[in-house]
């Protein structure tokens, strides 16, 4: 077997996970125009919830996904009502309020769970492909399948339903959408709802894939930002592509340079993206 195959495969699995993390961020940003800097901390919150349910109530992994999704939905919907009342300038103020929320959640997690590193240790059977000298963990397969399914789901909702049409109109031009009779606030609520479900879904996967500790959220937020800015607003399929690219880059970087440089990869990619696309997203300039 070629030595690169496992690196590419684990990069793809990691990238699928990144895409799953970024989907909620992207929806909330593109429809509600909120730069949710608390995104990573919310994923952590869901991850810790999954950890507690698994540790103390022996909840099976596949039950954790819907439970955490609904729990985070219950968190993001009130957040939407809160953020709607923000004074102008909306962009910067939402950035700072969610930064405050991130700090708040981080401190609460620290108070509840201490700074220890935690990981859900489940035994995932290895899957071997017959005829090929190659095997992988079924969890990695699950990540890839889940990412494909969820991306396809969001894509279909956006492209094939009436609600999706209204959402896309809101993404493309808020004022024009309003003129056409679309309630953009309601669309924001929908985006926060869908985003909450997706954030909740990412939590148990995070707890399984990476170490949970209260400061881990910053990197998750950074990854979501990188993937979203790479993809552009409302381009669901590009998110999957961006996630895979980031995952592959990180896998190769870790393989060649060591794991300590991993965090720099996403930061450097973000800076490069912003250098070449200073407006960030290929839409109207916003302040």
């Amino acid at each position: 077997m070629w030595v690169g195959t496992p690196i590419i495969f684990s990069g793809l699995a990691l990238g699928s996970f990144y895409a799953l993390m970024a989907l909620g961020f992207s929806l909330i940003l593109s429809v509600a125009r909120v730069f949710n800097l608390a995104h990573g901390e919310m994923i952590l919150l869901s991850g810790y919830l999954a950890f507690v349910l698994w540790q103390f109530f022996q909840a099976p992994f596949f039950w954790l996904l819907p439970i955490c999704s609904l729990a985070l939905l219950a968190l993001t919907l009130p957040l939407h009502y809160l953020l709607r009342r923000l004074p102008e300038p909306y962009g910067l103020n939402s950035l700072m309020v969610t930064l405050g929320l991130a700090l708040l959640l981080q401190s609460l997690l620290l108070a509840w769970f201490s700074a220890d590193y935690r990981l859900m240790r489940l035994d995932w059977p290895a899957v071997a492909i017959p005829g090929l000298d190659f095997s992988f963990l079924s969890f990695q397969g699950l990540l890839i399948i889940l990412a494909l399914a969820v991306t396809a789901g969001v894509h279909l909702v956006l492209q094939r339903t009436f609600l999706g049409k209204a959402l896309r109109a809101t993404i493309q031009d808020r004022e024009a959408a309003q003129v056409a009779g679309i309630n953009v606030n309601q669309m924001g609520l929908v985006a926060f709802g869908l985003g909450g479900l997706l954030i909740g879904l990412a939590g148990p996967l995070f707890a399984q894939n990476m170490y949970l500790y209260p400061a881990a959220g910053t990197e998750a937020t950074m990854i979501a930002i990188v993937v979203t800015i790479f993809a552009g607003l409302g381009r669901t399929r590009n998110i999957l592509l961006g996630g895979w690219l980031l995952g592959l880059t990180q896998s190769v970087a870790v393989f060649t340079m060591g794991s300590k440089w991993r965090e720099l990869v996403s930061a450097a990619l973000l800076l490069l993206l912003l250098y070449f696309r200073p407006e960030g997203l290929s839409l109207k300039k916003e302040r």
Partner: protein
């Protein structure tokens, strides 16, 4: 009225100068308030850049670079901290030059995101360059601040907390003066014009990128200075300590809460929030006491976005 009313400010400064003489034994409070002065200096540095309308999440990079440059000079060449602190802060300025060039087209939210990412670069490099910076171990045993002789009076700045407090207070007051000059001057109006409407400012002949870069360089030097001082006050540096995102957030919280457009706003914010956290909340909640900063950001932006300094009696002609 011709003369501004400096009374509240003068009374406040007098209070800060006099209280350690009345309570000479309150060592812990002197230490906390000394660090408060240091963070207030950092907040004033942040505010200089914020006057142009920029919200930076990367000032910890300046702080950390100042700290590490000063620490490395002290560690390898054994120069006195009196020399390494002002020199080390220049490392932050070098980084600011790259920042000004790389981010010159970024505004608003995207500038904030870029600055957040920019923090990772010096942090990861310092963290991994084991041979030169000792990596995540950090550098221990740095020289403390030296003793100074003032008119026959020997003052040990390194160990005597009261002397250290006065040093940090003095540096903070210098930073306040710089902030005052930057707000109430022709240049201050330039920065304000850039903040409010860059296109209109450019139409008036303001080279907005150059002026913004000036503010950033000044800001970075001051932040680097604060970092370098911090390294020698503690006697050690570690990447996780001085490149901490927390150090980017603190000045933001202090400035937003205190009032970013007011001369004394950042100082007010620092002197209310930091002692509150360290003296009241830390003993009560040893783990989650930083939550107060998150809460303060949220409440400030919703309920009094101008900061609390807007409630003070205002001197005429202040902006």
């Amino acid at each position: 009225m011709r003369f501004p009313k400096p009374l509240p400010a003068a009374a406040g400064v007098l209070l800060l100068v006099l209280w350690p003489l009345i309570f000479p034994d309150a060592a812990h409070i002197q230490q906390v308030l000394g660090i408060t002065c240091l963070y207030a200096t950092l907040a004033l540095a942040w505010n200089l850049y914020a006057l142009t309308g920029a919200i930076s999440l990367g000032h910890a990079a300046f702080f950390g670079l100042g700290a590490y440059a000063s620490a490395l000079l002290n560690h390898y060449y054994h120069w006195s901290p009196l020399l390494t602190i002002p020199l080390g802060a220049l490392a932050a300025v070098v980084f600011a030059v790259f920042w000004a060039m790389g981010f010159r087209r970024l505004r608003g939210v995207y500038l904030g995101l870029a600055s957040l990412a920019a923090l990772e670069i010096p942090k990861t490099i310092v963290d991994n360059w084991d041979r030169f910076t000792y990596g995540s171990m950090g550098i221990m045993g740095l020289d403390r601040l030296p003793s100074a002789t003032l008119g026959g009076l020997q003052v040990d700045l390194g160990m005597d907390l009261q002397a250290q407090y006065y040093l940090l207070l003095g540096i903070m007051l210098l930073a306040v003066l710089l902030n005052l000059k930057s707000i109430r001057s022709r240049w201050g109006w330039t920065l304000r014009a850039i903040r409010e409407n860059e296109t209109a400012a450019a139409a008036l002949g303001i080279a907005s990128n150059r002026e913004r870069a000036k503010a950033l360089l000044l800001s970075s030097y001051l932040a680097g200075l604060a970092g370098a001082l911090y390294a020698h006050i503690l006697g050690l540096v570690e990447p996780g300590l001085v490149f901490n995102l927390h150090l980017s957030v603190l000045p933001l919280v202090f400035c937003i809460f205190g009032g970013s457009t007011k001369v004394w706003g950042p100082v007010l914010g620092a002197f209310i929030l930091y002692p509150l956290e360290q003296l009241c909340l830390l003993p009560l909640f040893p783990m989650g006491h930083s939550a107060v900063y998150g809460l303060v950001i949220i409440l400030t932006i919703f309920f009094f976005p101008q900061g609390i300094a807007a409630w003070l009696p205002r001197a005429p002609k202040s902006a």
